[in-house]
């Protein structure tokens, strides 16, 4: 597979912070139309990898292509095709939900009438219309995720990159986000998202990659990666977990 045919292609992406290696050469091909889950334990480098893939963090080495356009050589074209929801990044949260959507839409050069129409629809579908003039800073964590997703979807991107879209989201909102993403993928869009919730990944994804210690340990279609076992068993084996024996922490039971 070549970089021209993938929705997202990463080649040798690497990043080092203050002497510690966060990402040590990641290669990844996300086929167009796939629903790709990037799995990894905390600190595996998921956020760093995705930030470099979408142009938020300059890599020390390597490159990233979105639908054949180099993110770091030709950023404007690549960013037009891309919808991003970063994690741990604030939104412009002194705006209301509707204002935030209008801001993101117009910033991407969309027609105001289209922005109005899509914003109203998105707010309605994501059940954010009730918030009215409430500022995003006063939203709950789940509402913030939803408005972030709406911002990423608004301009109808071909590739959606979501960092931890199901973190801190209640089951009702999570089901809603799942539905929307499934419909987006069914309509020909490509979704890449990071998570450490196996159940969601197994339910949604066509492809998965397991990232640990800054490198990709396993990748392929969901069935290729998990084989006969459950995804969780494969994940724990790849990552190398540790189980409590019951001897330590005895003071917890009084």
């Amino acid at each position: 597979m070549t970089v021209e045919h993938s929705a997202l292609a990463l080649r040798g992406l690497a990043k080092r912070f203050d002497g510690t290696i966060a990402v040590a050469g990641v290669d990844l091909d996300v086929p167009a139309g796939s629903f790709y889950g990037l799995l990894g334990p905390n600190g595996a480098g998921k956020t760093t990898t995705l930030s470099m893939a979408v142009g938020l963090l300059r890599p020390d080495a390597g490159s990233a292509w979105v639908l054949g356009h180099d993110v770091w050589q030709d950023p404007l074209t690549a960013k037009r095709l891309l919808g991003v929801m970063p994690d741990g990044v604030r939104l412009f949260d002194r705006l209301t939900g509707a204002e935030l959507l209008a801001y993101n839409g117009l910033l991407r050069g969309m027609d105001p009438a289209v922005v109005d129409q899509r914003a109203a629809e998105l707010l309605d579908v994501l059940a954010l219309g009730d918030a009215g003039r409430t500022l995003v800073v006063d939203y709950s964590a789940g509402m913030k995720k939803k408005i972030g997703l709406a911002c990423a979807l608004l301009h109808g991107p071909r590739l959606l990159v979501l960092d931890e879209p199901f973190e801190a989201v209640d089951p009702v909102s999570a089901a809603l986000i799942r539905d929307i993403l499934t419909r987006y993928a069914a309509g020909g869009g490509t979704v890449v998202f990071s998570s450490h919730v196996m159940e969601v990944v197994e339910r949604l994804c066509s492809h998965v990659a397991i990232l640990a210690g800054g490198t990709i340990k396993r990748f392929g279609t969901l069935d290729e990666v998990r084989g006969e076992r459950s995804l969780e068993q494969v994940f724990v084996e790849v990552v190398g977990g540790r189980t409590a024996t019951g001897e330590e922490l005895s003071w917890l039971s009084q």
Binding site: V84, L91, L95, P112, G132, R133, D138
Partner: protein
């Protein structure tokens, strides 16, 4: 296993009490860790230490001068006026320029079982561990030398106690006042009251200046000594003069003055402790805002505030609209706007009117019926105001923090970004500057100078915008994500101060042609100043956005990384 819940399930008393020492060590550790691998921060810190050292040494000799000269006549004057100035500086400078170091964010202690007393003494002790506090301590030991030289070791000993109390008073003042203002600016109800209070506080700059100028004018040292004696009985001067009083035989005064110091310190700490509590709870949740309904129109028309209603619905207009909303809705930015408004009015009025008083009493020199001011003096004071207004944008990306990622992802061109930010800020500042220009000319009794004042303001403000475009792209730093608009990261206070000074100096240099023109061109300049000033300001601002926009395009991700707070 279910734990039985019973009356005797109260937790054991902690094995060791938490003391101020823990807070001090924690602060030192946090500071040390924040330097790890951050060459620029270390350099900033060393710069700050050197500056502090310079201040400490020169202050020491100023305070010690009466003692070294063996002349007690002006000892009280030096102690009361110098010490009073120090306290006032600690009161005003954090509000207007520097912010307060919030290495230990009070909100982080909200969940710990600490009594309020422990917390306040601990945070206070930690606040004392700072370069400015230590510099002031060293400087004020000059007073100990003076007291010792004039009155022997008992006087020196009293002076030590007094001086230490004075330093404590300085730090407590800055903490209590910034914390109180932060609380008020955060609350949706009394926000506007806070704005007024801040204005009044900053307005203290005015009387201060009048006092200073009066001192110069009168040059009546005996009367000044009288004022200083009175000042010595207020909290501003009490701690600093106690030692001198003993040296000059007024032994009875020392305990009273020390009592005044301790009492003020207690009041300030109590005040701080009250607002601290709301800061701790407030950072966890600013309170549920009432759901406001009545959104009218589509999303796009909601985004554009009336002040930016004229803007086209494109990238530039959108950025302007969002920035315009932010200058009003973000407490940190609003505090800056208020500062500009207040300082912008008071400083030129004081400089020019105070100058007139000075000159007319002197009865000679450059007074030729022009009310003491001159086109050059007016231009210079306008230069200060214009530059000060623009320097607010020196860390404009730091205000956004990680939210700036949205613009990076959308691929906003740097030039559009910078031009839009200048425009939105100017929507608020230009009317203020216009008011300053008109008010000043009217107060001076020279309405024909409106062109001169307005033109100088336009030129210097434009030059400042241009310079600060570069500063904001190249010298950005992250601001803590607390609700205290005055809070700074450790070491960032220094960065802010240095960047502010640097950018003000460069902006002033860029705007110097206006002063030169005012000096050389005479009356013709009164008519030329407005068109030339506007053209000069607009030209430099656009050129600045054009050039700095290029730089911004190249380092958007790096800028995002520097303004994203480390957590």
């Amino acid at each position: 296993m279910a734990l039985p819940v019973s009356a005797d399930a109260a937790p054991d008393a902690p094995a060791r009490a938490v003391t101020a020492g823990h807070f001090v060590r924690l602060k030192l550790r946090v500071m040390g860790n924040s330097f790890r691998g951050q060459g620029r921060r270390i350099a900033m810190f060393i710069g700050g230490v050197l500056l502090g050292l310079w201040f400490a040494v020169s202050g020491f000799f100023l305070f010690a001068a009466p003692g070294l000269a063996g002349d007690g006549q002006y000892a009280v004057l030096v102690a009361a006026a110098g010490g009073g100035l120090l306290v006032l500086a600690w009161l005003l400078l954090p509000l207007v320029f520097f912010g307060v170091d919030e290495t230990l964010d009070p909100a982080r202690f909200a969940l710990l079982p600490l009594s309020r007393r422990t917390l306040v003494t601990g945070l206070f002790a930690a606040a004392l561990i700072s370069v400015p506090a230590l510099a002031v301590l060293v400087a004020s030991f000059g007073l100990v030398l003076t007291a010792g030289a004039l009155g022997g070791w008992t006087a020196g000993l009293v002076a030590v106690v007094g001086v230490v109390g004075g330093v404590l008073l300085c730090v407590a003042t800055s903490r209590a006042v910034t914390s109180a203002f932060a609380t008020m600016l955060r609350s949706r109800r009394v926000r506007d009251l806070a704005a007024v209070l801040l204005a009044v506080t900053a307005a203290l700059l005015g009387p201060l200046q009048v006092f200073g100028l009066a001192a110069l004018r009168e040059a009546d040292w005996d009367r000044l000594a009288g004022v200083a004696t009175v000042l010595g009985w207020t909290p501003l001067g009490a701690p600093w003069t106690a030692g001198i009083d003993v040296a000059q035989g007024r032994v009875w005064a020392a305990p009273v003055k020390l009592l005044i110091t301790v009492a003020s310190l207690g009041v300030l700490l109590a005040w701080w402790s009250r607002s601290l509590e709301s800061a701790m709870v407030g950072a966890v949740s600013a309170g549920k805002a009432p759901v406001q309904r009545g959104a009218t129109g589509g999303a796009v028309s909601q985004l554009f505030p009336r002040i930016a209603g004229w803007a086209r619905r494109d990238r530039f207009g959108t950025l302007v609209a969002r920035e315009a909303r932010y200058w009003w809705r973000d407490a940190r930015r609003r505090a800056n706007l208020i500062t500009i408004a207040v300082v912008g009015i008071f400083v030129p009025v004081m400089v020019n009117l105070g100058g007139s008083g000075f000159a007319s009493t002197a009865g000679e020199g450059f007074t030729t019926g022009t009310g003491g001011s001159s086109p050059v003096l007016v231009t210079i004071s306008m230069l200060f105001v214009g530059v000060l207004a623009a320097v607010t944008l020196a860390n404009q990306f730091g205000f956004d923090g990680s939210a700036y990622a949205a613009n990076v992802v959308a691929g906003v061109p740097g030039r559009v970004e910078l031009r839009a930010r200048m425009t939105a800020f100017s929507l608020y500042v230009l009317p203020m500057l216009a008011i300053v220009a008109v008010v000043l000319s009217v107060l001076l009794g020279r309405p024909e100078w409106i062109g001169l004042t307005a033109g100088s303001l336009a030129a210097t403000y434009g030059a400042g915008l241009a310079v600060n475009s570069f500063v904001s792209v190249l010298g950005a730093y992250s601001l803590p994500e607390t609700s205290n608009p005055f809070a700074m990261n450790s070491g960032a206070g220094m960065a802010k101060g240095l960047l502010t000074i640097l950018s003000m100096v460069i902006s002033a240099v860029v705007a110097v042609p206006m002063v030169v023109a005012a000096a050389l061109l005479g009356d013709a300049w009164l008519w030329l100043a407005l068109p030339v000033g506007i053209a000069y300001g607009l030209g430099t601002a656009l050129l600045g956005a054009y050039l700095a926009g290029d730089v911004l395009d190249r380092r958007q991700p790096e800028l995002l990384a520097t303004v994203t707070p480390r957590r």
